[in-house]
């Protein structure tokens, strides 16, 4: 197992250094003629008004939360799926129950209009 991750370790170093090398190469090659107007924020030629940090909707948070639930559910389901051949009928029922409970959550969210994007 560590052998497989050994490759990943080496690969991670390569995967990080290739984009970094690209940036360094560009830094050596490119022209540098800074000008204050160049460094302003690009908003289609208009001057920026106010702060960038606007307050976002609760909608994003709600979707992220529903995502967390399904993500955690998937984490439980993967080992269940791997072991499925070895499981009895009881394992099947438990797995389905697990999915159905979250399915109920999805239906609840749907009925409360939490899945509408406004």
């Amino acid at each position: 197992m560590l052998k497989q991750f050994g490759f990943l370790g080496v690969h991670a170093i390569i995967a990080l250094s290739v984009p970094l090398l690209g940036i360094v190469a560009a830094w050596l090659l490119r022209p540098k003629k800074p000008y204050p107007l160049k460094k302003t924020t690009y908003e289609c030629g208009m001057e920026t008004i106010g702060d960038t940090w606007v307050q976002f909707k609760a909608q994003y948070y709600l979707f992220a939360l529903i995502f967390v639930l399904f993500d955690v559910e998937a984490v439980f389901l993967f080992p269940w799926a791997v072991a499925y051949n070895k499981l009895t009928l009881f394992g099947l029922v438990e797995g389905i129950l697990f999915v159905l409970i979250l399915f109920a959550g999805l239906i609840y969210a749907w009925k409360r209009n939490a899945l509408e994007w406004q």
Binding site: Q4, A12, G22, Y42, A64, F67, Y84, L89, W110, L115
Partner: protein, 389 residues
């Protein structure tokens, strides 16, 4: 000694280098280094080709010629573009958060290169055949999501921030049906290792034939994960200009561009691996080189499908896109998962299991399409009724 067989290549190389006098550990590091660099080179070279292919394909669909100046058939156009991007002046907004701003493109490229490590190219040719391969793909792609968030936030630009959060909301929403489709695949294959998933599709029993519904779910989610039409909201120029990478230029933009096309390549690779038998085909077991050929043919076909969709379909609205993920794809994926689990436990002979799964998959898809059609008709009729009232 068959050098064409990758399984004998590694021991041969290791004994060769150890013969020179390097220790076993450093020989392994060197071998991994060679594998890793060839993987990255493969990715970059194939991107040069895929970008050209996509431009040429889209041009033909739109009755244009496409790139045709640099090199034969414009083949060297992407190389020319890469050189241009490399020599562009770097314009960073003065108010940007510099560390995150520069780290974001690096992390984006990092995440796609890391995903490349678990693509099975042929028998015995895979960067790392992890026991948790399928989960690893989802885990690493979350680093890419993080990169989009970092880019959007650190640019100090309203459009970038909005684009970043939008794209994250989209990627999260479509990751759920994608992961559930993967669970169905794992259920059928009995393993999360990608080579074992390929092995489970021996003898032409591609999971595409067994579970076309799950395949459909996966490919739709893949289009959305890749931010392709009809889910390319982040490129909605009229709304948010260019999304989270609006403030990037030169090589840093090039890295985001590379990430996009590498995502296309690897999502197509995983579609091939999960549903189209991976590198399997006649004689691929005996002659591993043939495995590469089959892998490339199948992956290219999937990429062509994605390009075809991109060239012909209009873009969805954001509320339609989110509703489609949560109200159509997620319930369907859960139903298909339950169906797969039940059918596998019925204790039928293998051929009947496959046939039953196929029939049920098609039924589920038809039922969902029926519901979808009804919902759409209601949606179209709604304004009329309001006027009538």
């Amino acid at each position: 000694m068959n050098l064409l067989n990758p399984q004998t290549l590694a021991p041969w190389f290791i004994s060769l280098i150890e013969g020179i006098g390097l220790s076993h550990f450093w020989t392994l590091v060197l071998w991994n280094l060679i594998g890793s660099i060839s993987l990255v080179l493969f990715a970059i070279i194939s991107i040069l080709f895929i970008v050209w292919l996509e431009r040429k394909f889209a041009a033909r669909v739109q009755d244009r010629i496409g790139p045709n100046r640099v090199g034969p058939y414009g083949l060297a156009q992407t190389i020319a573009d890469a050189i241009k991007l490399l020599t562009k002046e770097d314009i960073t907004p003065a108010t940007a958060e510099r560390v995150s701003y520069n780290l974001a493109p690096v992390l984006a490229v990092f995440s796609v290169f890391m995903v490349a490590a678990v693509v099975p190219f042929a028998k015995g040719v895979i960067g790392a055949d992890l026991n948790v391969g399928v989960l690893y793909i989802t885990a690493i792609s979350s680093i890419g999501i993080m990169a989009a968030l970092m880019a959007g936030w650190s640019s100090d630009n309203k459009f970038a921030l909005l684009g970043g959060f939008r794209v994250v909301a989209q990627l999260l929403s479509y990751e759920v049906p994608m992961v559930m489709a993967m669970v169905s695949v794992v259920l059928l294959a009995g393993s999360m290792s990608l080579q074992k998933i390929v092995a489970a599709q021996a003898g032409g029993r591609w999971f595409f034939w067994v579970m076309p519904g799950v395949f459909l779910l996966y490919i739709i989610a893949a289009l959305a994960e890749n931010e392709r039409t009809p889910f390319d909201l982040l490129e909605a120029d009229s709304e948010i200009v260019a999304g989270y990478h609006i403030e990037y230029g030169g090589i840093k933009f090039a890295w985001f561009f590379l990430t996009f096309f590498l995502n296309t390549l690897f999502l197509a690779s995983f579609t091939t691996t999960f549903f189209l038998g991976g590198w399997r085909g006649p004689f691929a077991e005996q002659v591993p080189i043939l495995g590469f050929v089959y892998y490339f043919i199948k992956t290219t076909l999937v990429i062509f499908f994605m390009m075809w969709v991109r060239a012909t379909w209009p873009r969805l609205r954001i509320d339609q896109m989110m509703a489609f993920a949560w109200k159509v794809l997620v319930p369907t994926s859960l139903v298909l998962l339950i169906i797969t689990a039940i059918v596998l436990k019925l204790g039928l002979p293998a051929i009947w299991v496959d046939a039953l799964l196929l029939v049920l998959n098609v039924t589920v898809v038809l039922v969902v399409l029926g519901f979808l059609g009804r919902a759409m008709r209601l949606d179209i009729d709604r304004p009329k009724r309001r006027i009538a009232a």
